[in-house]
């Protein structure tokens, strides 16, 4: 293999975290991949591939060919009483094929990262919200509220993407206020040209509530809210009122009370829009959860956490969440093509369409290793804002089936 030339591919699109960076550089040497240039640690880790033989498909731990594994999977699905189609880390083609599979065999559909999404939906579906997208934040936002823990750990280039040095419209030094955890080194570096401040609190909900009241011209009773002095909050409320475009961002998945964070942030942004402009920018989007959710909305009329059976579907955000649905299921079809995310602990039968490096606690009844979208095959994923979607390209010749191909194999026999 020493003779294989290293090829560098520019402008690679990344489909892992939902931020949708599309300027990656990847060195390809045979089947080995290595990121080069500007990249976040998570993408660097997930893109790194060695030139090793793929793990074969297997049935009860015994290596078999794809057709045999698919046949065994179909047999399990046909005998299933209640199937959970979980994980759902897949591109749009895979999501479509899995929806077809659910319609044919029945099953509950949920994504492994849906907790944050549904905490946000608790707010969206009750009141709606006023939102914004990446390019608007980049260019308009002059005051950014970052609520909760510093999200730069999960979205390594978030602040670089949100706050470029030369925005089109935001004037003067842009402000970033961290409400909750302190900004880490990455955030501070990427926001080097902005004014950063930190309101330390372990109760951002109380802080947001007070900011909402202050922005509405009321003085909430109390000296401090969530441990932050009222005077500081009053000053921030005044700054928000004077700002041109305020953006509130948070990662609902990181908070047990993420639904309340979403609700209070939504209410604050609603209030600010009475006199100036503002938008929410909720974080999320891991492993194309937004794309899968979009597809379910247009195909079934419901978001994730929907059960399909008897040629009809029903949605219940609690009942059909992975953990609850597993309690009723006898079969788990686990799908994780983007990363080696193992299935949750489950006593019933497991069919895994999994990243080849997945380490299982218990050998799945059927394992079909699948290629990664954006590495082994082309595909489409959505960005976290649910508006923009991106074309992933293939970086090497695929030796594993895509999720869509594996699912079709299972369905068609």
């Amino acid at each position: 293999m020493a003779d294989v030339a290293i090829e560098t591919i520019e402008d690679v699109v990344c489909g892992f975290c939902g931020l949708g960076c599309d300027d990656l550089r990847v060195e390809v040497e045979g089947r080995a991949l290595r990121a080069a240039g500007t990249i976040c640690p998570e993408a660097a880790r997930l893109i790194r591939r060695l030139d090793v033989a793929d793990r074969p498909a297997s049935v009860a731990g015994t290596a078999v060919d794809l057709d045999t594994a698919a046949e065994a999977a179909r047999h399990i699905l046909l005998g299933a009483r209640a199937t959970l189609i979980g994980g759902l880390g897949t591109d749009m083609a895979g999501a479509g094929a899995l929806t077809d599979l659910a319609i044919r065999f029945g099953g509950v559909l949920d994504h492994h990262a849906s907790d944050g999404l549904f905490r946000n939906y608790a707010s969206v579906q009750r009141t709606g919200w006023l939102a914004t997208t990446l390019a608007e934040v980049r260019n308009r936002c002059d005051l950014l509220l970052v609520i909760g823990e510093d999200p730069a750990g999960q979205w390594g280039r978030l602040f670089e993407r949100l706050f470029p040095e030369a925005p089109l419209f935001a004037e003067g030094r842009r402000r970033v206020v961290f409400i909750g955890g302190a900004p880490g080194e990455t955030a501070r570096r990427q926001l080097g040209h902005a004014d950063i401040s930190h309101l330390a609190t372990d109760d951002p909900v109380a802080v947001l509530e007070a900011l909402g009241a202050l922005s509405a011209g009321r003085t909430p009773p109390g000296e401090a809210f969530g441990g932050v002095p009222a005077t500081e909050l009053a000053a921030l409320a005044e700054a928000m009122g004077a700002a041109h475009y305020v953006v509130a961002t948070w990662n609902a998945a990181a908070h047990d009370d993420g639904d309340l964070v979403a609700e209070r942030a939504t209410a604050l942004v609603d209030r600010l829009n009475v006199t100036t402009r503002a938008g929410v920018f909720p974080l999320g989007g891991r492993d194309n959860i937004i794309g899968v959710n979009q597809l379910l909305l247009w195909r079934l009329g419901y978001p994730l956490r929907t059960a399909v059976r008897g040629q009809a579907s029903a949605h219940d955000g609690a009942l059909y969440a992975t953990e609850a649905a597993l309690g009723d299921a006898d079969v788990l079809l686990w799908v994780s093509a983007f990363r080696p995310e193992p299935p949750p602990s489950f006593a019933g039968k497991i069919i895994a369409l999994a990243h080849p490096e997945t380490i299982f606690d218990k050998e799945p009844d059927v394992l079909i290793p699948v290629g990664t979208p954006g590495i082994d095959h082309a595909g489409t994923v959505f960005r976290m804002d649910s508006i923009v979607s991106l074309p992933l390209g293939a970086l090497r010749v695929a030796t594993l089936p895509s999720v869509a191909e594996a699912v079709r194999c299972i369905a068609e026999g």
């Binding site: 990446l134 979009q294 195909r299 489409t380 991106l390």
Partner: protein, 555 residues
């Protein structure tokens, strides 16, 4: 594959044929998805139509069927989905909903009404890839999308900098190609952009607070661009001040601003409001219809309001932000989008006992009945904004049956009845006129020469209705519907799902603009322009688009 439809009364206004009026019947022959001249060859299948009325497949040139805002509407209005579950006997089991049906339900319900082609009128460029993925999942319909343009910062910057028309044309051409669009839609010209700079309204000659550009300039520049690029469909305009009493003056001024050049005014009903009367809300339908009648360059669709629960979804966030105060149920979503456009989703219930809603209903019908040329007015409810498309049969009866119309009017809000001249209008649409509004005229204004008619060479998209003096009953169901010569609906039920195509327009343009676009996307949008572009192979599951080449003057 050869099919023969025998003994139908053919109603084909595009070719001057009216079998309903003459009572004559004839056969239609189909070979490999197209209508051919009659032969005596053996057909693979024959359908005896027994004197039923044969129409070209319906074409809806303005119906919101795909794109991010429809999914936001689905998310927000789960009660609509729950209230309208999967239809019984629906063999593929995916979907329901009425105001915002699923892709599958959209394709099936339209097909059952005899429609075979529907255009999504507000695709945001940033969302184009998603909109095309969604359209590919709509069965039984050919689709296409109009690209929302004019509020994007790239365009506003060009205008503010005094760019040459040639540069504008290149930009428009690039965007149409990149987003796989069919036409250009302007939504609240410059207003959506101005709202991002905190302007709450923008009149036709008001300056954008940041760029100083007026809606009039946006409009006239883009009219010229689509003309010079040779796009078949004129600018599809959702004008300024949607829903605002007194917007009649804006609408009249907008028609004048076109200065004789082709312009399509969409959902005109929402732009025909005066301020007369004690409620400061009145119908200006007569004034506006008169001006439409006098300006043959103008075409319109109505956006008729139909009573009941719906959800409004529009790129016009400026107007929808205003409307969220009257949301019913009380929740709404708004979004600024990608230096490109925006969207606003507001649930709404039109009530027949409400003065405003009843008058909106009457204004729409006045427009239908007072605009004289059926080739320049199209039957729409701006689905789902004025009401779901499934109300079309009822709307057709309102147009065709004066007694029925007046009986409906008599049940509405009393004050509204006093404010409309509807009861005095005697016009009743003929079947031929309905065929023009729903088939022949949309095909003509979209430049689809092989659709909307039943002549030799036409695509074999055909709807067969059994005549019924109750026109609502007649148009509520179809005896047969053929898509590309395949039977997809029989006796009102979908019997097969056909994969449609997506129409796109391909103008020629100066490709030197590409380097400007690369820089813009890199520096401002934060996305590579090549990743913004949607490739042919991304449409319709790899099948690619149906391309309409444009013969423009700006190459």
């Amino acid at each position: 594959m050869r099919l023969r439809l025998t003994g139908g009364r053919v109603l084909d206004p595009a070719n001057g044929e009216n079998g309903v009026a003459t009572g004559s019947v004839r056969d239609i022959e189909i070979e490999d998805g197209r209508i051919v001249a009659p032969t005596d060859q053996r057909a693979d299948a024959e359908y005896d139509l027994g004197g039923d009325v044969v129409l070209a497949g319906g074409i809806d040139l303005h119906s919101h069927i795909a794109g991010g805002k429809m999914n936001l509407a689905r998310l927000l209005m789960q009660e609509d989905r729950r209230a309208f579950p999967e239809m019984p006997g629906n063999f593929c089991g995916c979907g329901g909903g009425r105001a915002v049906p699923t892709a599958h339900a959209t394709g099936c319900r339209y097909a059952e009404l005899g429609y075979t082609t529907v255009f999504e009128p507000a695709m945001v460029g940033a969302n184009a890839r998603g909109a095309h993925l969604e359209m590919a999942d709509i069965p039984n319909l050919d689709t296409g999308a109009y690209l929302v343009l004019g509020n994007d910062d790239f365009f506003q910057r060009l205008l503010a900098a005094g760019a040459h028309q040639e540069t504008i044309n290149a930009y428009v051409g690039w965007m149409i190609e990149a987003t796989q669009a069919f036409a250009i839609k302007i939504v609240n010209p410059g207003g959506i952009n101005a709202f991002k700079f905190n302007a709450r309204k923008l009149d036709l000659d008001e300056a954008n607070p940041h760029y100083g550009v007026s809606p009039r300039r946006v409009l006239t520049t883009l009219i010229r661009a689509v003309t010079e690029l040779g796009l078949p469909h004129p600018i599809h305009l959702h004008g300024c001040n949607l829903g605002v009493p007194g917007n009649d003056e804006t609408t009249l001024a907008t028609i004048a601003a076109a200065e004789g050049r082709r312009l399509h005014l969409t959902h005109l009903q929402f732009h025909s409001y005066g301020t007369e009367g004690d409620k400061r809300f009145s119908s200006s339908a007569a004034r506006i219809a008169e001006m439409v009648n006098g300006n043959p360059n103008i075409s319109v669709d109505v956006g008729q309001v139909m009573f009941g629960q719906t959800v409004t979804a529009s790129a016009d966030y400026m107007s929808q932000y205003r409307n969220r105060a009257i949301a019913s149920p009380n929740k709404s979503i708004g979004m600024d989008i990608e230096l490109d456009a925006a969207c606003g989703v507001v649930p709404f219930e039109y009530k027949d006992k409400s003065f405003v809603n009843a008058l909106q209903w009457a204004i729409g019908l006045e427009l239908f009945l007072l605009v004289e040329d059926p080739w320049r007015i199209f039957l729409t409810t701006d689905h789902p904004n004025g009401g779901p498309f499934t109300t079309y049969p009822h709307l057709i009866r309102l147009l065709m049956d004066r007694d029925f119309r007046n009986a409906q009017l008599a049940t509405l809000n009393k004050a509204a009845q006093a404010h409309t001249l509807l009861s005095q209008i005697t016009r009743e649409y003929s079947l031929e006129e309905i065929a023009i509004l729903t088939r022949a005229a949309p095909a003509r204004i979209l430049g689809l020469t092989d659709k909307g008619h039943l002549g030799v060479g036409a695509v074999a998209d055909i709807a067969v209705h059994t005549e019924d003096s109750d026109r609502e009953a007649m148009f509520s169901t179809t005896r047969f519907v053929f898509k590309n010569g395949r039977l997809i609906v029989k006796d009102g039920l979908v019997v097969e799902l056909a994969q449609g195509t997506t129409h796109v327009a391909r103008p020629e343009f100066d490709r030197a603009i590409d380097k400007d676009m690369q820089r813009w996307f890199d520096e401002s949008v934060g996305l590579k322009s090549k990743h913004f572009r949607v490739a042919d192979g991304e449409l319709r599951g790899g099948a690619g688009p149906t391309i309409l080449k444009c013969e423009g003057v700006a190459s």
